[in-house]
Subunit: 186 residues, 2 copies
DNA sequence: CCATTATTTCTGTTTTGACAGAAACATCGA
DNA sequence: TCGATGTTTCTGTCAAAACAGAAATAATGG
């Protein structure tokens, strides 16, 4: 499966980005390749195109499937598994956010909650308690907000992004007057 | 610098999360420690408390400073450098988002832009062009939105999170009627 | 300017994760 | 059921990153 120059650059860059974010390079390359090509490939084709071992492809696909980013399809008259990803970037974004939140963000929130609930928590200094509580609250808010956003359709999400500035004005008016640029100092 | 049980759990967990997100474990542990303690420590104290080599601390601090997450202070009558982080979670969040965006997100947007601008781009299949264009547009929108959010005060951001649901209703009404739950199928 | 203390850089070791290739396993058609 | 084809698991190797300790460098106070 020959890649065009454009496709190759895309795949390679995506691989780099993946590593930076704690994702195996081969995993992100496979995902990127399935996305740019926009059609199902079998493991052999992936292996050849990316020049990685067949086993490496197999494990990476397993991982991508566990992230719900890749699914199996079949081609008539061919008993090999073919793999494809969604070509809808919004859906991909949603899936990635949902999965990462569930695996990495939520457990942290729970840990913070358990620290706060612990009998030992009262023994922390007042300021120390405040910091942990503030962290917990921030994470809870981010989590709840993100759950809400995940429920929206791509079209609605798109509007929220586009209208960011408007939303800001709306929100500012919605609560007690507050200096808008009272940023905490460095 | 003795840690309480609560503090230790916090620091250890933060270290784990860091690795998961492509941040060196020692780096995130140091940051977490400075945050929970809420007071400046010198390199020696960090080294002892976390049981890591002095040199490791030095390099990690350098990295944290490059991320603008830690700064140097001094204690009267002590010529050693002391290091501290902000104890404002909102400020920390903002800093992390800003830095990561600048280093990892923006370059990807620029790459996509350059792919689209390339003369070769026209040779891609129409669907292939669409996918790359859609990716670029999504990233541009996310980037612009995030820049806007980064400009807001913590108080305003807090409101936006809290009023997420309300914002959603507001946005839905703001454009042509659109089925709110027309999610793309899996 | 020297002794002392703090900090960074350098070098080698250890650990971890990615990966290839082989072997084992499963599935299908004949 | 057997051969052929496809897939996963296992094992060993390799490379990159984290890390420790030592050495070198810089800064400070006397």
């Amino acid at each position: 499966m020959q890649m065009t120059d454009i496709q190759q650059q895309f795949v390679l860059h995506w691989g780099e980005m993946g590593s930076l974010w704690g994702v195996n390079r081969t995993v992100s390359q496979i995902h990127a390749l399935l996305f740019v090509l926009g059609k199902p490939l079998n493991a052999e084709q992936l292996s050849e195109t990316l020049n990685v071992a067949r086993s490496n492809v197999s494990n990476s696909l397993k991982e991508l499937q566990s992230w719900q980013l890749v699914r199996v399809t079949h081609v008539l008259g061919d008993r090999r598994d073919y793999f494809e990803t969604s070509v809808d970037v919004w859906e991909l974004l949603r899936t990635i956010v949902r999965e990462r939140k569930e695996r990495e963000f939520d457990p942290t929130t729970r840990l913070l909650q358990s620290l706060v609930n612990s009998p030992d928590f009262a023994r922390e200094s007042p300021d120390g308690q405040d910091r942990i509580l503030a962290t917990l609250e921030l994470m809870q808010k981010l989590g709840a907000w993100s759950d809400e956003m995940l429920r929206l359709s791509p079209a609605t999400l798109d509007k929220i992004l586009t209208l960011g500035a408007t939303v800001q004005r709306f929100v500012r008016g919605s609560a007690a007057a507050q200096e808008p640029e009272a940023l905490s100092k460095p």
